[in-house]
């Protein structure tokens, strides 16, 4: 379950290639984390310049995705990996898609945030969004940590936390609906708030996907569209044995 298990390879170079691939994904993850943190800060602190810079920097995320994708293709073509190695490459290909989408959501938050910065800020200073942002940031960070450590048990636990994000999103949604019904003048802002909450909720889902790829890499099990309880009982039962 640790990196040593990723391959006892005859070819040292191949091992290094795979490790480098994973590092690249994690670098990309680090950049996306920064984008998310800055996007949320820009929104909460009303910093339009920061929001714009987040939106502007999204191209870097896309560039990283393309570069890693090409590297994966090269490895598939030249090394023809099998078993665990193949799983690593496949998981990487899927992960970067999710990370790229997280980047897109950050771009959206940054863009809306810089627009909202020009308006008067609400009395609660986006407290709910700040809190949701915090939860999602922690989730993404923990997901990438489990990716770095290839820690499937942690991945299962983190995937479960995505529910907290969903509940938070529901709460914000209800609140916005209440505001809109009380005072139609707030509709525009409520819609923007909802868009951002939605983006954050989507980022939570992508973080959960990353956790699923970790489980796939380590155990070779495709756990997408499976109930979390089932995954847990199966994997933890397996590791307890």
């Amino acid at each position: 379950m640790d990196t040593a298990n990723l391959g006892q390879h005859i070819s040292r170079r191949f091992n290094e290639d795979l490790e480098h691939l994973r590092s690249q994904v994690l670098s990309m993850g680090g950049f996306v984390e920064q984008q998310l943190s800055q996007a949320v800060t820009a929104l909460v602190e009303g910093d339009s310049a920061l929001g714009e810079s987040v939106a502007r920097n999204d191209f870097q995320v896309n560039a990283m995705e393309v570069a890693i994708d090409e590297e994966c293709q090269r490895i598939l073509a030249t090394r023809a990996p099998a078993a665990g190695d193949l799983r690593v490459v496949l998981a990487v290909i899927k992960s970067i898609t999710d990370l790229e989408r997280v980047g897109d959501e950050c771009e959206k938050i940054g863009y809306i945030g810089s627009r909202l910065a020009a308006q008067e800020r609400p009395a609660d200073k986006y407290r709910e969004l700040k809190h949701l942002g915090r939860v999602v940031q922690d989730l993404l960070h923990a997901a990438l940590d489990s990716y770095a450590r290839l820690d499937a048990e942690a991945a299962v636990r983190i995937a479960q936390q995505d529910r907290a994000v969903d509940e938070e999103y529901e709460a914000i949604q209800r609140q916005c609906i209440t505001f809109m019904m009380e005072d139609p003048r707030t509709i525009r802002r409520a819609l923007d708030t909802l868009l951002i909450a939605r983006a954050l909720e989507r980022i939570g889902d992508h973080a959960k996907n990353l956790c699923e790829y970790v489980i796939y890499m380590v155990h070779g099990k495709d756990v997408r569209h499976t109930r979390l309880e089932d995954i847990e009982s199966e994997l933890l039962g397996k590791s307890a044995r």
Binding site: D2, T3, S23, G30, Q34, S37, H141
Partner: protein, 435 residues
């Protein structure tokens, strides 16, 4: 080395003993040769038995002491026991030292991570857990840059060569500042030290904000005072006796405004954390403009010469470079007597770009040179007041140059003059400008 003679004597004695027993046995049996052979065989078998027992003991080691053997074998057994005891003693001592070392590094308030040449974590202490979010028993063998993914930190970890440090604001918890240091040791290994510097950073921020706010707040009333002083100074109805004091008040309020402006621009330089990337600045053109401005100064030496030996410019912030260069030129003009000369020079070579301001004024005593760029440092308090400097000019120069990866070099001989040179690295040079 043992002595051959002793060995031969030893073997001969044993052989004689066995042979004598054999001869005795042979006499009893009536066949001397068979007697000797039997005696030899018995002696050999006995040796083998002893050897086997010793080997068995060494392999299994159920008891601390070797089996009871005779002759040389007992000596060998005793030697083995002695060796073993000594080894165990050393091992225990080594373990104790090692444990103590680990305990003391754990007690350090700073996070310590030992990395190998592939930047994989070999060991880390307790504070590294909390400061960097590493997990004991899990993170050994994982590359550090996979866990510390913040782009700034990654670039530092990957690019760092030699002994380098970085002060970074943690992206996840924006209240926290860490000082990271990489120290190479052994064969390609590195020590990553992490320290929480949140408090010092906050203090620095508070100080910076205070200076900026105070300067800003003081400027507004000062503008009003300066405005009235100007009106009064030009008012013909003011009694002649007040003319002198009024114009002096006006001069001093101008000086105060210059001081506040300098404080504000220093605060601004302090506030921007990152190095500036900037756009190409046409240095030759900038210098020509500065030379023209210098010639407008009220107190200035007779000649201010400019020699431009390169058409290249600098990647940076034009306003910052302007204020840095202007401060140097203004200083030189101020401290050089009316019949002196100031030389401005811009040139580029393999080391990068260089701008120098040379004067033949009174010069600066060597003990003052290292402290010149400190804020409000005065070489000579009375002269400083006379020339109307703020004491912040060179501090601004230093900060502005620092933002451009450049450094300031000051050379001076008392009585001969001074030379202030700015050195810009090659990476900061931009191509030749349009003309």
């Amino acid at each position: 080395m043992f002595e051959i003679g002793k060995l031969i004597a030893f073997i001969a004695a044993r052989l004689l003993l066995v042979a004598a027993v054999g001869v005795l046995l042979g006499l009893v049996l009536g066949q001397v040769v068979i007697g000797i052979l039997v005696a030899m065989a018995v002696a050999l078998a006995w040796q083998w038995i002893e050897l086997f027992r010793l080997a068995f003991w060494l392999r299994n080691r159920r008891t601390a002491n070797p089996p009871e053997t005779f002759g040389l074998w007992s000596e060998v057994g005793a030697a083995i026991v002695r060796l073993h005891r000594r080894k165990r003693f050393h091992k225990a001592r080594m373990l104790a030292v090692l444990r103590e070392l680990r305990e003391s590094t754990s007690a350090l308030p700073d996070g310590v991570v030992v990395l190998n040449s592939a930047r994989e974590i070999l060991w880390f202490n307790e504070p590294a857990n909390s400061l960097l979010g590493l997990r004991r028993g899990r993170d050994q063998g994982i590359r550090i840059d996979n866990l510390l993914r913040q782009p700034e930190i990654q670039e530092f970890l990957v690019r760092a060569t030699g002994d380098r440090s970085l002060i970074v604001r943690m992206e996840r918890d924006r209240e926290h500042w860490l000082l990271l240091r990489l120290v190479p040791f052994g064969e390609g290994r590195q020590l990553l030290l992490a320290r929480d510097v949140t408090e010092t950073q906050q203090l620095a921020t508070v100080r910076r904000d205070f200076v900026a706010n105070a300067s800003h707040e003081l400027r507004t009333p000062l503008t009003v005072i300066a405005g009235y002083l100007e009106t009064l100074d030009t008012d013909p109805d003011v009694p002649v006796a007040l003319r002198g004091p009024l114009s002096e008040m006006r001069r001093q309020s101008d000086r105060m405004r210059a001081l506040l402006d300098d404080l504000l621009s220093l605060a601004k330089l302090d506030a921007s954390e990152a190095e500036i990337q900037g756009a190409p600045v046409d240095v030759p053109e900038l210098l020509q403009q500065l030379q023209r401005d210098a010639k407008q100064l009220a107190t200035r030496p007779a000649t201010i010469e400019l020699s431009v030996d390169s058409a290249q410019g600098i990647l940076g912030d034009r306003a910052m470079l302007h204020s840095a260069f202007w401060n140097l030129i203004e200083n030189a003009a101020k401290y050089t007597p009316g019949d002196g000369a100031v030389q401005l020079r811009w040139w580029t070579d393999a080391d990068g770009g260089h701008f120098s301001v040379t004067d033949n004024g009174p010069g600066i005593a060597p003990e003052h040179i290292p402290r010149l760029t400190e804020r409000f440092y005065r070489v000579d308090a009375s002269r400083n007041r006379e020339t109307g400097g703020t004491g912040l000019g060179l501090a601004i120069v230093k900060h502005a140059l620092h933002k451009h990866d450049a450094r300031l070099d000051i050379r001076s001989d008392p009585g001969q003059g001074s030379c202030f040179t700015c050195h810009f690295p090659v990476t900061r040079l931009s191509g030749a400008h349009g003309n």
